[in-house]
């Protein structure tokens, strides 16, 4: 059992609190991704699990054991670093075996384990090379090998793919996820890339300014973001957000000069918040040209095209909306690509709206 539990964990550097009060449970064998913008505290959280950062307040448990004051070597945790952190003067074999040698394991046992790990990761022909003679992807594999050879109870990954090119990153992403499933070891993965987070994690924890903003499965975060930050952070292109108001009787929502009836699923929430300012969010894929959908409940936004981004399988269109003084992102059919300057009307699927409190930025409870 290697579940990880943060209980009101605080990390401060002097007067600056980088982690404010973290409560987070990571289940045994789960792949948890910590995601957030630079400086949000995700790497610090990971390093606290590793034992590389001291915990200022609160408790951290790995399994049943409180590990606040346990040395990294006694936590049974392995970490893959952003820069791979391979020992440049040692061969691949020595790099992988270093941790085992320190544990005073017999040499033949070390050899067996290293060979096994090398085979798993396709490193066998490279065992005698120095890190200098390896490509980025191979170095990354050696770093993984060094982590898996010890058979730890927790894997930690600190942005391990950020130094790789786009193609290799996609490949390694799949390999790491597959390896984690096969080894069934609790893993915590830090990234600022939300595509990595969405594709790899069993669950995702979104951090912002040292606060945990939401934890959930990738789809939960995408479909029901708990607050405006998560709504805008998860999803590419970003969710469109406009300031609006709920009418006094709670039956209508207005955004600028555009007004529409409250969708069925938001009726109770709007009643409870009647007359209040809100943020109205709608994703680009729920914002399509008026002749490219069969949605029943829509609101029409008209304006002119600013920018067109052709991605091959789809087109992303930035449209400046009249009466809203705002640019929204819509998607369009590749065969009907508009050109900048064209007049364009887009429909928003009101059944897929997201409403957030205008003051607290929290999702209205529907």
């Amino acid at each position: 059992m290697a579940d990880i539990e943060f209980k009101k964990v605080v990390k401060s550097y002097g007067d600056v609190k980088v982690i404010k009060s973290l409560d987070l449970s990571i289940k045994d064998k789960e792949f948890m991704v910590l995601v957030g913008p630079s400086g949000c505290g995700k790497s610090t959280t990971l390093r606290m699990i590793a034992g590389l950062e001291e915990i200022t307040e609160g408790d951290l448990f790995i399994g049943e054991r409180r590990v606040n004051n346990v040395h990294p070597k006694d936590r049974d945790v392995a970490m893959v670093f952003q820069s791979y952190a391979l020992y440049p003067h040692m061969s691949v074999r020595e790099n992988i075996a270093f941790g085992l040698r320190l544990r005073k394991m017999p040499k033949d046992e070390i050899d067996t384990l290293v060979d096994e790990a090398a085979k798993t990761l396709g490193l066998t022909p490279l065992l005698d090379r120095k890190p200098k003679a390896l490509s980025g992807g191979q170095r990354q594999r050696v770093a993984l090998g060094r982590a898996i050879v010890r058979k730890p109870s927790v894997f930690l990954f600190d942005e391990p793919l950020s130094n790789l090119d786009a193609e290799l990153r996609v490949q390694m992403r799949a390999e790491i996820a597959k390896l984690q499933k096969r080894l069934a070891i609790t893993s915590v993965y830090v990234t600022h890339d939300q595509v990595e987070a969405m594709t790899m994690g069993d669950r995702i924890a979104v951090l912002h300014d040292g606060d945990l903003r939401q934890v959930g499965t990738p789809l939960e975060l995408y479909d029901t973001p708990a607050n405006l930050f998560v709504a805008q952070f998860i999803g590419t292109p970003n969710m469109n957000v406009a300031k609006g108001n709920i009418s006094e009787d709670g039956s209508k929502i207005s955004i600028g000069s555009i007004e529409f009836a409250v969708p069925a699923k938001w009726k109770d929430a709007c009643k409870a918040n009647a007359g209040k300012p809100i943020h109205v969010g709608f994703r680009p894929e729920h914002t399509l040209p008026d002749d490219e959908h069969d949605w029943k409940n829509t609101a029409r936004l008209s304006g002119h095209v600013d920018i067109v981004e052709t991605l091959g399988h789809e087109v992303v269109v930035y449209v400046t909306i009249e009466g809203l003084d705002k640019r929204v992102i819509a998607k369009a059919d590749v065969h009907k690509t508009p050109t900048p300057g064209d007049a364009m009307s887009v429909d928003v699927n009101l059944d897929e709206l997201h409403l957030f409190d205008g003051e607290t930025d929290e999702r209205l409870s529907s």
């Binding site: 590793a50 990294p72 070597k73 820069s83």
Partner: protein, 280 residues
């Protein structure tokens, strides 16, 4: 390549002439010393200071070695230089490791003290040093010279090694900690191999400076059986003041170990001097 390296033919010529002139200035006395050390008598040295020896007299070296007690001086120099190298390399690398990788309250102050040591010449502190060595009953002993000489080399060695160690990625150290390494293991298995060029630089500097040191042995040693080569050469000069061919043989004997040391360590030494100049 950066523009600074693209010299015109004329500029290249000027640079080459300057380098050639410098090499001549350095090599001429050295060449003359070798030639004169092989001459059969002092007359030939004075008649043709730059002429070839006739006949080539290798026995000068043997005579200098045996008749002037050079064996003892050489051994004393070797003991002093090698002990200083071992002591300085161990003390400076461990000190630099702690100062650069395990900072504590006051570590900056200690580093500043070492920096002061780089600026202040050890000769200025000779009076208190003499008292300390005397109180420790280490006057006229090789150990006394070794300790003072090593201490005098510490500031510059710590300075070189701290700069190197600060340049090593913190993640390597953290990876070692995750692998289960404690501080001494990180120092021994990770840091030391990675700062090998700096260690070679420090070892070479220490060896050459302690081998060539004249002043400290002069102050702290009295008995001729404890003299290193630098003091031995002075004795030898008094004994063979007119035998210049023998003097030259003695000087060459004294120079050989430093040249050998430099040749052995030169690759590491040069990479130590240029390390950090290029991004990996």
């Amino acid at each position: 390549m950066d523009k600074i390296f693209r010299l015109s033919h004329r500029e290249q010529l000027v640079v080459q002439v300057i380098l050639l002139a410098w090499a001549t200035v350095v090599l001429l006395p050295f060449g003359a010393a070798i030639l004169n050390s092989l001459k059969p008598n002092v007359g030939q040295v004075f008649r043709e200071p730059f002429g070839f020896p006739d006949p080539v007299t290798w026995s000068n070296y043997l005579d200098a070695w045996t008749s002037a007690n050079f064996g003892t001086y050489f051994l004393n120099s070797a003991i002093i230089a090698v002990s200083c190298v071992v002591l300085v390399v161990f003390c400076a690398t461990t000190t630099a490791f702690v100062l650069s990788r395990m900072p504590f309250r006051g570590s900056t102050f200690i580093f500043m003290c070492f920096m002061l040591g780089v600026i202040i010449p050890i000769r200025l502190t000779l009076a208190p040093l003499f008292v300390i060595v005397r109180e420790l009953s280490l006057l006229d002993s090789l150990l006394g010279v070794i300790l003072v000489q090593s201490a005098s080399m510490m500031p510059v060695s710590v300075f070189i090694l701290v700069s190197f160690m600060r340049g090593i990625s913190k993640e390597l150290e953290e990876a070692a900690r995750m692998d289960g390494a404690l501080p001494f293991r990180i120092y021994w298995s990770i840091m030391l191999p990675l700062v090998k060029p700096a260690v070679a630089t420090v070892a070479l500097l220490t060896f050459v400076l302690s081998w060539n040191e004249y002043f400290l042995p002069l102050i702290f040693l009295q008995s001729s059986e404890n003299f290193p080569l630098t003091l031995g050469i002075r004795q030898f000069n008094q004994q063979y003041s007119v035998q210049w061919h023998m003097m030259f043989a003695g000087i060459i004997i004294m120079m050989v170990p430093t040249i050998v040391a430099f040749l052995l360590a030169s690759r590491q030494f040069i990479s130590g001097l240029t390390q950090g100049a290029l991004k990996e």
